[in-house]
Symmetry: D3
Subunit: 245 residues, 6 copies
């Protein structure tokens, strides 16, 4: 197997978060796998709702197109709402994995039920919709929001990290779950330490997605081009979108 080139797309424009995410990806990548951590040059600095997601989705598509031109072997959408996931799958010829999807799948492989700890309360609905779409509603026992914005995770104070930890401990005692999913790309660096400290699987989707891309690649599987994920129907894109295909 040739070494892989995996593109990790931070859908927001925060470079600090792109770095956090890139490091989390590199920490688990197989020997030889190269991680390119990118983010859109234009868009939103953090993603905390459907509006932010809609904008971020375009940035994701741009980066997927760029990654495709570079010949990457897979694309990761590193925001817990998996913005633009199916659109990106249409564009890509290689696998595309969202981090919410990745973390949820992994959680169901190590526990019968899991909880999610996310940032703002308003993003809970996004996770709910994904659970329904992916089929994991019955596997998720509770959703918790630490009630701090995404970028609080990039500040030095450690307050957001502490809150994540507290909610994980609370979930462990109250929710009757065997695993916890971290519901934000900016929490990627917390999973391993919490897994060790709390002695339960605390799952980060960024690293999970890296392994799923590597897995699909090794299996010779890629996004199906038969049916509804086929390349987009060719048509002229106008204005600011003209560079998108």
């Amino acid at each position: 197997m040739n070494p892989l080139l995996i593109q990790v797309i931070n859908p927001n424009t925060s470079l600090a978060m792109t770095e956090t995410i890139g490091m989390a990806a590199r920490a688990v990548a197989a020997t030889g796998t190269e991680i390119i951590a990118v983010s859109p040059s234009q868009g939103v600095p953090s993603i905390e709702g459907h509006f932010d997601e809609a904008i971020a989705a375009v940035g994701v598509l741009e980066q997927v197109k760029r990654g495709k031109a570079q010949g990457v072997d897979g694309h990761i959408i590193a925001c817990f709402g998996d913005p633009g996931l199916l659109a990106a799958r249409e564009v890509a010829s290689k696998p595309v994995i969202g981090i919410a999807e990745a973390a949820m799948h992994m959680a169901t492989l190590v526990a019968t039920r899991f909880s999610i700890v996310t940032t703002l309360p308003r993003t809970v609905i996004i996770a709910r919709h994904l659970l329904q779409r992916y089929g994991f509603e019955h596997h998720c026992a509770a959703l918790h929001a630490i009630d701090l914005p995404v970028l609080a995770l990039e500040q030095d104070s450690g307050i957001a990290q502490q809150k994540v930890r507290e909610y994980c401990i609370q979930s462990l005692h109250q929710d009757g779950v065997g695993a916890i999913v971290l519901g934000c790309g900016g929490m990627a660096d917390l999973a391993q330490a919490l897994t060790r400290e709390l002695a339960i699987p605390v799952i980060d989707g960024v690293s999970a997605a890296v392994k799923l891309i590597e897995s699909l690649s090794a299996l010779g599987l890629t996004t199906s081009k038969h049916g509804d994920l086929d390349y987009p129907v060719a048509k002229p894109l106008s204005g600011m979108f003209s560079t998108l295909r």
Copy 2:
């Protein structure tokens, strides 16, 4: 009640379709209600998959912002995938209705089960996901695709229209349903004639959405700003998105 100003947004850039949609909206609008039919200046000429939808969603948000500045009383997203619906609800202070949503809701009020007739097979998955999201999976007995692109509906030949009619008749005989939902904004002008000819409700979402906006408005109800549909968290939008807020 003051006369209403309703913005009907065709999320694609096809002006012919914008006109079809605008006429369908005006045909049912209450006396005094004014319809502004708009489409993004940049984007995709038709929407036939998730990629097209992701691009169209940004155009929808731009138009919602513009409509809000104009003081419209409600916004309609006139593409059967309801692209950008929840994002638009965050932006808007007034009601926002998608035409898939509108048609499906109306269908459940006049029949116990309905079918959907849409354009390309690859768009069926979009309708499936919406049925799940909106809660109408059990109310939809079958999804049919005429296997012609969206813009075939704007051609003079009438072939696409004929196919829509044929699938409606077939559905009527085979699916055990009481109503049919037309699954494309470009079919908006067919509903009334088919309803009369086939003697069952054949439902167009554009006109349905107009009435729902008028209804919400008369009821003094608008998009909830409590919780997850509150206005987007204020943050700098960069690059081509900088005009979006």
Copy 3:
């Protein structure tokens, strides 16, 4: 469009409630729409369980038959259990809307999730069953009962109204919802004031149903007579039911 004649059927025999309901209907009716608020001459004074509903359903059917003879343009079943809804649709040639149905549909158009505030705890199961039937189980976060009988809403003390308000406020703080549905026809007059005071959509089904009837009418849509909502199979009705067809 000709002015409409809408029949609002209070399924119980309480004339005070019929009046409350009629006023709520008139308050939102379009100019020219005429509201006939009726109630069965025989039946139950309030509806607080399945037994009451079964009796009320017959009264609803009588009134629908009467309204049909009068040439009304639509029928509303103004009890939150929507008693006799599908039976009434069989009898009617025009649209029939239940107020639970109307309120729930409207709630999903302005919020991602809603709560219900109803009267007696024993009626909660009726709302649960309707949520399942209509497809809105995932949209309803909580059901609350003020634990007062329906007719307490018709007393002058204001105690029931105060309890409704308290439960709405509690729901607003605890349930993570964006809207509240009032679960009793007798609460119809509270919705607008609570909507204003609490600054979230508080939805009454009576007024919502009026707008849905007007909407269907303007769209040229009516109860499907193809399939299972066709007129009842003609057969002799005996005894006290002999006047029902």
Copy 4:
């Protein structure tokens, strides 16, 4: 255990069908169990839709009240739509079982999936709703309608019986099921012969319900009077309903 007195209520007024049902009940009743087969003195001669069901429900309640006065040990609602089931449970102090419910429960105990063979196509939706309410949607693979009215089963020609048999055989070959549920009280006398001929369980709800009543009785279990199936709230019933409590 004392001998039981079980009231089998045919919700329609067809005496021939009451007799068919009564015989089916007696054929399986335990030694000592006495079956009283009754039908309302007024109502509909057959039940083929929601309208018929709404009328029949009142007849069911009258009979339950009468049976209660007679001191019966349980009530059976012998129409496949289980009309008035929850209302009857409120009225009764003893168990009440619907035949659709009874047949469906039994089917899940002897096969992983079953089919239903019913009368008119328009009654299929009633069975669908019951499957959803009772939780058996995933256990039912197909619903078939012989497309003959209920009373065809009471004619001497045997045509309806022949059609039932044909659909059972077809289901056996095509549906991938292990059992068939007969979807009409008027088919009660066919189950045993078809079970023997086709060598699969063909299930009649009337006889199944008799055994469930006997079972609950032997277990000392009866309709819960704690919560939402408690006796109806005492209130004056007016007009033709005044005798109902």
Copy 5:
């Protein structure tokens, strides 16, 4: 009807529990029905998880084979996880009923919603999975674990029994249910006293299963041998399993 011979299989090797279960079965058996209470000669002394269940399932199959050789008329699997239920149905020619299944079915016949009181928290997931499989997720409002091991129920102290009672009372006040299902074969002797004391149906699956076997038998129904519950495909079983067929 000939007297029946029903085999009640305690899937664990605890003879004290076999006796408890046998007595509960005999207490409700029809006159003439003979109960054979058995347990595997080898296996686990109590069943408190999936591992225990997997072992117990083999013991169940051995006993079913033995019972079949003895000519029993039905088999009961008397552990709340219903271990080996579908496998046993393949082996048996007569009905096989699990006690979880039996109790849950009965509960839905006397209440709209029920709670479950079980032993260790780790067994809750087993009940959850059964609720999903059987279709009763919506009928179960809450699951409670007394947090004592199964065999605590066989000790003389009465502590476990007291805890069961406390949880039933708590459920009665908090869960909004009409019935309670006891989630362990070892609780079989508690149901009748709790039913009387708490005045709601408290349901034991052992006795419920006896009546369901008797019911199916009287109805001439048995496990379908058409399709996926047919006898196992004949093949050589090796080693310690060689006696299993």
Copy 6:
């Protein structure tokens, strides 16, 4: 990362199939990963129903115990019914993956909907139950059985392989899916060639499971020992099971 030792357990006793499965596993294993393909010394030669599965589950547990003693880094249950999966997770300290689970998860990552092609019709119900348990009911469009026994796949004729291919092609044309899951461990060697020939993802669970074990291992995640997958409660196992712990 140290090289991994993965135990692939063929739950049946067919050594030819163990070899097929072992080769499929080795074909995708990462450099350094060592595959130990094992099968129980006693049990069933093939698994074609619930009875076979119950027996196989014990063999699986024995092998998991043995693998654990050997210090393997993960266990794969290489039969499409995932027999004994949760029990094995209780026993293991390392990850355990079933091949049905693995294939289904992978399928949802590359297509919106998939079909399953399995062996005997009677095993379809097992796949159905797993789809429900895992949450993928909505992702599976169709289940096909080639109607040949499992061991036909080990014969030299190639007939079974040809049938698998035919069903895949038929599914590709009729089911509206983007991927196909092969529903038997004995089909493991067909996936890659079919993926190439049909140009859609044809997914084998054995190889998929290898990559998931490697992934979890790299992520530092293992079966949760908090809650219901904790090690089995310590208790004496008697008779032929005494070696199981």
